[in-house]
């Protein structure tokens, strides 16, 4: 069998195994409390009847292992249970919210990826000169800024002072694509700024790494200009590491999205998760945690698979 395909198959199997283990960990994470989950959800003043009801609803009278398997079995067939607080079906509530979150993250990615690659190329072209230094200073600053700060500064400038975009990202059913886009543009810009610096720095490092190769020197000696060398020789060879960088940062978007959705009151997965953590609605938190972790693991897996496929030594084994 082809070597690269075999490695990809191995990586896929590893990803699935990891996902299974993570589901155990997320389930266990809500069980590690010494004592009674029902008690801690309802507080000390709960009546014995309310406690007994909640225990029955959550199936706490059964052992943890059998509860885990029934939860996992449900999750695999698309049944994530019902929310404790509202009694609503979790899979249904998540459906539209997941769509909203994917849309937001997608818009952010469409802005961030080309911009990061362009700036990374510029930083390499003007290495150790002022554009490069400016870019690395901005990078340091933006790594040190909390996501909510970027969000509120953007709201203050573009929503309050200039009035270009709404400060609250309200989305409703049947909204047109362009309306939706104008609503998510500020949150998407915030997310872009959160991941841009990191993505750009890793792009710069990936291209610089390629620039050390002998064929780059040949191209330079041939008399090609700096930009030609980068565009024709360095960039194509840096694509694999750059795709890897992009995937890792998309995985990072998964976390950024939680905070940004709260800032802009955007009805997505992050908002849903945070709301139900403070309401101590364990089934919803478990379901959201599992989905977030699955997306994160999935993106990391794609990053690994791309770098396996992009490696010519693995594609054409001797």
């Amino acid at each position: 069998m082809h070597l690269a395909l075999k490695l990809v198959a191995q990586r896929l199997a590893l990803g699935l195994l990891l996902l299974l283990a993570v589901s155990v960990l997320i389930f266990a994470g809500t069980q590690i409390l010494p004592g009674d989950v029902a008690q801690s959800i309802l507080g000390q003043s709960a009546t014995p009847e309310a406690l007994a009801n909640l225990r029955r609803d959550m199936g706490l009278n059964e052992p943890a292992v059998s509860r885990y398997f029934s939860w996992l079995g449900g999750a695999l067939t698309g049944d994530l249970g019902t929310a404790l607080t509202s009694g609503a079906d979790i899979s249904k509530s998540i459906g539209s919210r997941l769509g909203n979150t994917v849309f937001l993250a997608g818009v952010a990615a469409v802005i961030a990826i080309p911009l990061a690659i362009l700036l990374g190329l510029l930083a390499v072209r003007y290495r150790e000169r002022w554009p490069d230094k400016l870019i690395s200073a901005v990078t340091l600053a933006s790594i040190s800024l909390p996501e909510f700060f970027i969000g509120y500064v953007l709201i203050l400038i573009f929503a309050v002072n200039l009035g270009w975009f709404p400060s609250v990202a309200t989305v409703y059913d049947g909204m047109g694509f362009l309306d939706r886009l104008s609503v998510v543009i500020l949150p998407a810009l915030t997310l872009t700024m959160v991941v841009l610096a990191h993505m750009m720095r890793m792009t710069r490092a990936a291209i610089l790494n390629v620039m050390q190769s002998a064929y780059i020197e040949t191209a330079e000696l041939k008399g090609l200009s700096g930009l030609q060398v980068i565009a024709r020789h360095a960039f194509p060879n840096a694509i694999a590491p750059i795709v890897n960088v992009v995937m890792l940062n998309l995985a990072y978007l998964v976390v950024g999205v939680v905070v940004v959705e709260v800032v802009f009151v955007y009805p997505g997965m992050g908002q849903y998760l945070v709301d139900h953590v403070s309401k101590r609605d364990v089934p919803v938190v478990q379901a959201c945690g599992l989905i977030f972790a699955a997306v994160y693991i999935g993106l990391n897996m794609v990053a690994d698979i791309v770098s396996i496929l992009a490696n010519p030594r693995l594609r054409h084994p001797k």
Binding site: I26, L145, P146, L156, V160, V254, V277, Y296
Partner: protein
């Protein structure tokens, strides 16, 4: 005494300023933390340097006390993370074999879930108190320290002086604390600054989401949450804590960069 680069000097100056502010908060704050001393969102004035907050408390005092809470939590959580992470990492490296395998795979597993998401899952059943926050943050972050400590210790563990100590018949505890720890200290110290920044951002994010420090106790993330509704009226009270977080993070970064450069140049000299 070597000459300090300017960036490091600025970093050290602001870092110590913030830590002194945290330690002497009750002496510095002009008003008590929770007392209502004026109207809602008063602008900056001689009486209230940063104005007042969403229910009329002095914002500067809230910021100073809030800095104390945030820096305290971040510091203790960093210590917890480093103690558990490095001891477990050294142990894994010294013992090796299946113990190392089991611990490392478990750490891989924990790290495959985004830290914030895992913290939210755990905090949904935990009582949200400051010691609990410190434990959760410290434990989750210790996975990163574990990886670094283990990697460094694996290298040191095969050096001649460790071999010599083993042949002398020293126990594992001696080897971990007397042979490996002193030699692994400088990369760990350089990492410490970065972990501390991460903790500051982490606890601020949790409080901003309403799942960290609980009111009326002030902390930087919580102050953002309390004052965020002012933003749409053009009131910038919520931005002050974010500025504080950012300047603290940048200062610590500058110091950490300097420590890192110094230690790597030391290593280069040693060959």
């Amino acid at each position: 005494m070597m000459r300090l680069p300017l960036a490091a000097m600025i970093g050290i100056f602001f870092t110590s300023l913030y830590f002194l502010m945290a330690i002497f908060a009750p002496l510095l704050a002009p008003y008590p933390m929770t007392e209502i001393v004026g109207g809602v969102w008063e602008p900056m004035s001689a009486k209230h340097w940063l104005g007042t907050d969403n229910i009329g408390r002095d914002l500067l005092s809230r910021m100073i006390y809030g800095g104390r809470t945030t820096i305290f939590i971040a510091t203790v959580a960093t210590i917890v993370s480093f103690t558990t992470g490095s001891i477990l990492g050294f142990t894994a490296a010294v013992i090796g074999g299946w113990v190392d395998q089991a611990m490392s795979r478990f750490v891989d597993l924990v790290m495959s879930i985004p830290t914030l998401i895992f913290a939210l899952v755990v905090l949904s059943v935990m009582p949200v108190t400051i010691p609990m926050l410190i434990m959760v943050m410290g434990f989750l972050d210790s996975t990163r320290v574990y990886r670094l400590a283990r990697a460094v210790a694996v290298d040191i563990n095969v050096m001649d002086f460790v071999e010599a100590a083993k042949l002398r018949g020293e126990g594992r505890i001696w080897i971990i604390f007397r042979e490996i720890l002193p030699n692994a200290l400088s990369p760990l110290v350089a990492e410490m600054g970065l972990r501390f920044i991460f903790m500051v951002l982490f606890v601020s994010t949790l409080s901003f989401l309403g799942l960290g420090v609980q009111p009326p106790q002030a902390d930087w993330g919580g102050i953002v949450k309390e004052n965020k509704d002012g933003i749409v009226y053009g009131i910038g009270a919520a931005l002050w804590p974010a500025v504080a977080i950012a300047t603290l993070a940048i200062s610590v970064n500058l110091v950490a960069d300097w420590v890192l450069n110094r230690t790597t140049s030391l290593k280069g000299g040693r060959g």
